[in-house]
């Protein structure tokens, strides 16, 4: 995931939460694809075949059921963006590729984590949950499952705090992104 030493610049004015943008060495691509058999494998296959590195990948249906959107974060050092985009464009099922500069996009990722707690640690955990606007999905006398959706950089921070506790399982989705409103209206 995005290293924490990336350039920090708050995107939203919020108490105590500085948000981290992806390192400029990453590109955000939103790839609109036809909802056809094997399309994810074609996109993923192209990346490995051409030696482009994927940092994260998420797929979901779009507002139009004929299409899906694949959100990919690409390691910029592994290939020039132009090559990645034009090679992707050659896939017959790829309809449109939008490159989002991290500065021009809102990005969200989801994190799920199950922690083991005791009477001492639960207080601090609850504070963290509050501070990061996370929510509790399940809890029993020893284990707690938390979810948090936010900018990847913020999840990095949350994750590093939670690593102080015994983690039973942790899962992140990879980010999805949309252009900021100012770019949509243009």
């Amino acid at each position: 995931m995005t290293p924490v030493d990336a350039k920090e610049k708050p995107l939203r004015e919020e108490e105590g939460t500085e948000l981290i943008r992806p390192k400029p060495s990453h590109h955000l691509l939103a790839i609109k694809v036809e909802n056809k058999f094997g399309v994810l494998s074609r996109v993923a296959g192209l990346f490995s075949r051409r030696g482009f590195n994927i940092v994260s990948l998420a797929v979901a249906p779009t507002e139009d059921e004929r299409f899906s959107r694949i959100s990919i974060v690409v390691d910029a050092e592994s290939a020039p963006l132009e090559q990645v985009m034009s090679q992707l464009n050659k896939l017959i099922n790829v309809v449109e590729i939008t490159q989002l500069h991290p500065d021009d996009a809102v990005e969200v990722e989801l994190l799920l984590v199950t922690l083991r707690f005791d009477n001492k640690s639960i207080v601090a955990i609850q504070e963290t949950i509050k501070k990061y606007k996370a929510s509790i999905l399940e809890q029993n006398d020893r284990l707690i499952t938390i979810s948090c959706a936010d900018y990847p950089g913020k999840l990095d921070k949350l994750e590093s705090i939670l690593r102080d506790y015994p983690i039973v399982a942790l899962q992140r989705t990879g980010q999805i992104a949309l252009p900021r409103l100012e770019f949509l209206s243009k």
């Binding site: 058999f37 094997g38 090679q87 464009n89 050659k90 896939l91 017959i92 099922n93 309809v95 449109e96």
Partner: protein, 587 residues
Amino acid sequence: MELTGAQSLIKSLEQAGVEVLFGLPGGAILPVYDPLIESSMRHILVRHEQGAGHAAEGYAQVTGKPGVAMVTSGPGATNIVTPLADAFMDSIPLVVISGQVATSAIGTDAFQEVDFTGITQGVTKHNWLVTDPDEIPRIIKEAFHVATTGRPGPVVVDFPKDVANAKTDWNWPDEVDLPGYNPPGPPEPEAVRKALELIYQAERPVVYVGGGVIKANASEALAEFIKLTDFPLVTTLMARGAFPDSDSHHLGMPGMHGSYAAVTAIQKSDLLISLGARFDDRVTGKVSAFAPNAKVIHVDIDPAEIGKVRRPDVPVIADCALAIEAIVAEIKKAAAGKKSVFAAATKTKQAAWMAQVQEWKAMFPFAYDGKGESNYPGPIKPQQVVEELSAAADENTILVTGVGQHQMWASQLWSFAKPRHWVSSGGLGTMGFAVPAAMGAKVGQPTKTVWAVDGDGCFQMTAQELITCSQEQIPVKIAILNNAYLGMVRQWQQMFYEERYSEVYLSADLPDYVKWAESMGCVGFKVSEPSEVAPVIEKANSIYDRPVVVDFRTDSMEKVFPMVPAGASNDDILVHPSLRERLSREQ
């Protein structure tokens, strides 16, 4: 009208204009072979599915039409992966229909099941798994559209057995609906304008012609461009024949085994006009040292080729023919009422450049010991065979090759006159290409003579398709340059591995090529003396009813020159020993 999926497929192939398919049946594709009996299409039963694929490639290269092959599932399908990869590298339009196990059995490791759309993802332009029999006509129409438009390439239609047996209606769609597929057409006027700016200023221009010129049928436009500009040009391995070798503007083939003039002209050029070429490493050598002082105009229909290897100063994303025509039209406009579109001073520099490249061409021909003699003491020089074949050929003769030294000599020494008369495996370098590709070429152009120049190693990989040729009356001619070695590999071991020969010796006498040819229904000749070369070629050329195989016993130790060692700069070109002194004086 109700019909089966298999009938729908056959009808769709007919509707797509297919006249010939190459294939071999088996369990999963059985239902499709039944209605084939009634079809107007000619099916050629190959002896190995690799042969079907290469034959379809040869057919496509000489006709400009898509080649079609049909195979069964599992091993039939995997056997055609090599031709698919070959066609993908060389942008050859191919439609391969593969049988597949029934949709209900997919994913169960059923008998002869392979994930063929998965396997071929990286070596096809696109592929389809048919799951709904009603979609057969649409998918076939799309398959041919994708294979033949834009940058051409191979496609696969994987066809499950239950889909073939299902009942369906047949409706040929009017249009293809592929929202993600929009191949470029004519060039942007702005790109043409920028290209012309560089063209008008060029003092040491070289036109770098690639296979795209052949694919786009742009030879005429190219000829006009050369006539208008007087620029020298080179044709890559994939573009041999795009422009006649006999024309003095033509400097030959560039690259690892290219002519000295072609390689050196590119290196010293100040403008490289790339037309449908892709800056392959066999052409560029060390990329950072390739044409170091040249500005680059890169014309290609595939946007992904732009900047992949070398960043152009002016990219022109367009169909090659339309791009050259647009440039030609602008030059004509600019030339109206003028003596030349070039400034006088520029024209003088261009003339000096032309004189320079002509001098290189004259000083550094393709040399070999015994050149010009037919009575030197044997063994036969392989180059002599190619030169004699070329001299005896009319300009409608099609030349096909395998991969290795013989391929380089064929490309260097054959005198090419026209496009689509040369069929060779370029990007993939597939040994065993020649015999089946020659078969496909002859099927595509039955009235033309088809010669294959093959290696002994290559021949042994796919020779069995000569049985197909005999049975189907496809009289191709094969010249084996039998040097008893995997010669190209031997050359590298000799030059770069201190003559440590590892696993490259084959034997000149094993197999007995004449007997083998005869057993396959061909006429076989063996030639050991330089003086016999021409007479036997004449004999072979007078046989029209059967395939001919000539076993030319050639010099094992002969090497291909010039040579740019792998990864070296093109400036470090090695010429034939007899020209070395001349080269050192030149440098």
